[in-house]
Amino acid sequence: MEGLSRDNSDRSQLTFGSVAGTANRGSPAVRRRRSIANWVVSPAPPGKAPTWKEPRSRAWLDCLQALGLVALVVLAGLAIAPRLAPTTLAMLYLLAVVIAALRWGLGPAVCSAFAGVIAFDLFLILPRLSPAVSDVSYLVPLLSMLAVALIVGALVSEAREHAKTARTNAEYVEAVYAIAQALAEADSQDRIVTAVARHAVETFGWPVLLAIPGKSGLEVQFRSPDFSFGEAEQAAADWACEHCEAVGRGAAKFPELRGRYLPLKTAWGVQGVLAVQPAKANPKRATHQYRLLEALATRAALALGRAALEQKAHEAQILQETDRLQKALLNSISHNLRTPLATVTGALRSLLEDAAILDESTRRELLTNAEEQATRLNRLVENLLDMTRLEAGAVRIKPEPCDIQDLVGAALDQLGEAARRRPILLNLPDRPLLVVVDFVLVTQVLVNLVDNAMKYSPAERPIEIRAAESDGSVQVEVIDHGEGIPEELLEKVFERFHRGRRNDQNGGAGLGLSICKGFVEAHGGRIWARRLSGGGASVAFTVPTGARAKLHREVGDDRTRAASTYN
């Protein structure tokens, strides 16, 4: 019985984190499997691994069942004993050991082996009901029966353990693979949080909590509705994060809590805390699930760490980009502000100084030119302001139902005389078509697009504006019949300070299309340019109709809330 209890204590002292804990007694095949698992999850270094104490397993119950089985065999043996030789009956006893080993493992098998031999001795060897063995010739088979029972029991139970481990490992590797797969697709912190939370909820079916250090301490990013979270839980999560130590149920710290709190640790710091509140579980199953939880934590930590590093790299890149942009901005501004200013100032000076020698038509021309350039200056300043607002994230969308025709009309009205002189073909639906957008911003998009179309196509060729509904959004397209945009610039034209399709004389600062892109994307829409086969360019964008816009607004309003109610 000593062997049995040692076996038991072995199992109840499972080393959590040593990934192949149950494969300790493994054959080479199992060890190989273990090494794969190790490679997949890279467990914590030995010694530092947190130890989880789960409630004692029900091994004594298994032993009782094994003994019951022996008792059955004894009864059966007694019933048929008169007709068979005792040695044949010994095989029946061996069968009980094999069954016990298969069903309940090594401990119960050993238990039944001893019980079987004792029972054999008591009931089948004369004198009956006495441990004394009268005939020495029985002693040898009895002892060899014990030896065989023990060996068979051990072998069978080991085979069972192998099979079980292999199965668990297969499940485990599969689950870890699924985690890795889900995380590989997540590229931002938000998505990682969603992926980890979704996975934890699906895999374990337990309430899950995921918190990430923010500006003001640990911030809960995800919490299952049924995860009870109070001050004690907050304290445990904080401790786990601060001391990089697993706490909660079964650990040294906060053992009174229902949940387990695992720090998401990486070489470069704790990335957050993952917690579960396990339901009462079958301890063997729980062990398997805790292993998976550890693996999920490791994976999540790596993914979050990676995202944090990427974020930093991205910020550095933005800084660099900002620097480049500032230079471009200075160049652009100095050129684009000075040109119209020079025209205006020149015209005014000329009118002041040479008033006497200017004839009426020249004076008129100077004035018209100055007025045009001043208007251009105004548009440039407005674009710069829009750009600044976009960059500062200060663009607040005020979505309201707007009629497409109204938007187009307002844009043409804003373009004023220039748009009245141009042939403009409108291809709009003949009934009101409402989109839920910010009227001013979308009008501005249209103004910029039509303005571009007028700049980049000859004055006599018409400009087309089309709008049509498709699939929850409205697509608006502005078409010109000029030279078109070279294939390689189709995406670049939306970058800031990217100027023109040719070395243009049109005074674009390279802001218009990037502002359009900013405004359209702020609405959750898309904007793109294409070349027309017959020459000319088309820039199209989509804006949401009612339903989608509302959704977008809500998502934008409170992403954290949406995330935390996810289940």
């Binding site: 208007t375 009629d403 025709q405 009309g409 043409l412 009101p432 009227f439 001013v440």
Partner: protein
């Protein structure tokens, strides 16, 4: 000109804008008073009792909406607000506080004069008979008759209510909330805005030659609608 000798108070902290307004308005026969802060403006209104006030929204001491509110406590003098495009909300706040109209800088002189005339007409409108004409559009409020040229136009009761609202405020901006308050009392704002857009769209299809480039009912993006009068329509493109 009918506005001969009318008194205008211009309130702007920028000297150049005050100068521009002075030369423009004086040329058209107005008597111009000036103020460069909200505080000064309130004093000037008490002293000169102007017929019309032109108020810049970006004053250094008091916000334009607050000046409007303050003035509206004791005077009904028409107020036209000057703003830049970026201050949509300040503009709407001032309009809701009781300002009569607004102009976005830079503005054309023709537009400013048209706005002044429209604002001045505000009180006079009621007495000038019940037939309104602009371009080809004739609205006879007494007979409930709407015509484009000689062609009578069938309007739904709501469209007619809306048009009536425009006609009785011809030339002036009507904000979305003003229209909704008058025409769709008691309907939830967002629903009403939806209905307003559809009705304006339908009204344009019935009245305008080209509903996409309306001549009569024009849109002020983000603010509201305006029924252009003949003078404004011809003065605007200057």
């Amino acid at each position: 000109m009918i506005e001969q000798g009318l008194q205008v108070l211009t309130i702007d902290d920028e000297r150049s804008i005050r100068h521009l307004l002075r030369s423009l308005l004086a040329t058209h026969g107005y008597t111009v008073h000036e103020a460069e802060s909200g505080q000064q403006a309130i004093e000037q209104v008490r002293i000169h009792r102007p017929d019309i006030i032109i108020l810049d929204l970006g004053l250094p001491d008091i916000g334009g909406a607050d000046v409007t509110r303050c003035l509206r406590e004791w005077t009904a003098t028409p107020i036209i607000v000057l703003s830049v495009r970026q201050d949509d909300s300040a503009k709407i706040e001032a309009l809701d506080a009781g300002a009569d109209d607004y102009l976005t800088k830079p503005f054309s002189p023709g537009e400013l004069l048209a706005r002044i005339r429209a604002a001045m007409r505000r009180t006079a409108r009621l007495e000038t008979g019940s037939v309104f004409r602009t371009g080809d559009l004739t609205v006879d409020l007494a007979a409930r008759d709407v015509r484009v040229g000689e062609r009578p136009v069938q309007l739904t009761p709501t469209e007619y209510e809306l048009l009536k609202m425009f006609v009785s405020h011809a030339g002036r901006i009507l904000t979305h909330s003003q229209l909704i308050r008058e025409v769709w009392r008691g309907i939830h704002y967002e629903d009403a805005l939806h209905i307003l857009r559809v009705n304006v769209s339908n009204l344009r299809r019935k009245l305008e030659q080209d509903a996409s480039r309306p001549r009569y009912i024009t849109t002020d993006p983000g603010v509201g609608y305006r029924l252009r009068t003949e003078q404004a329509a011809t003065a605007a493109p200057q």
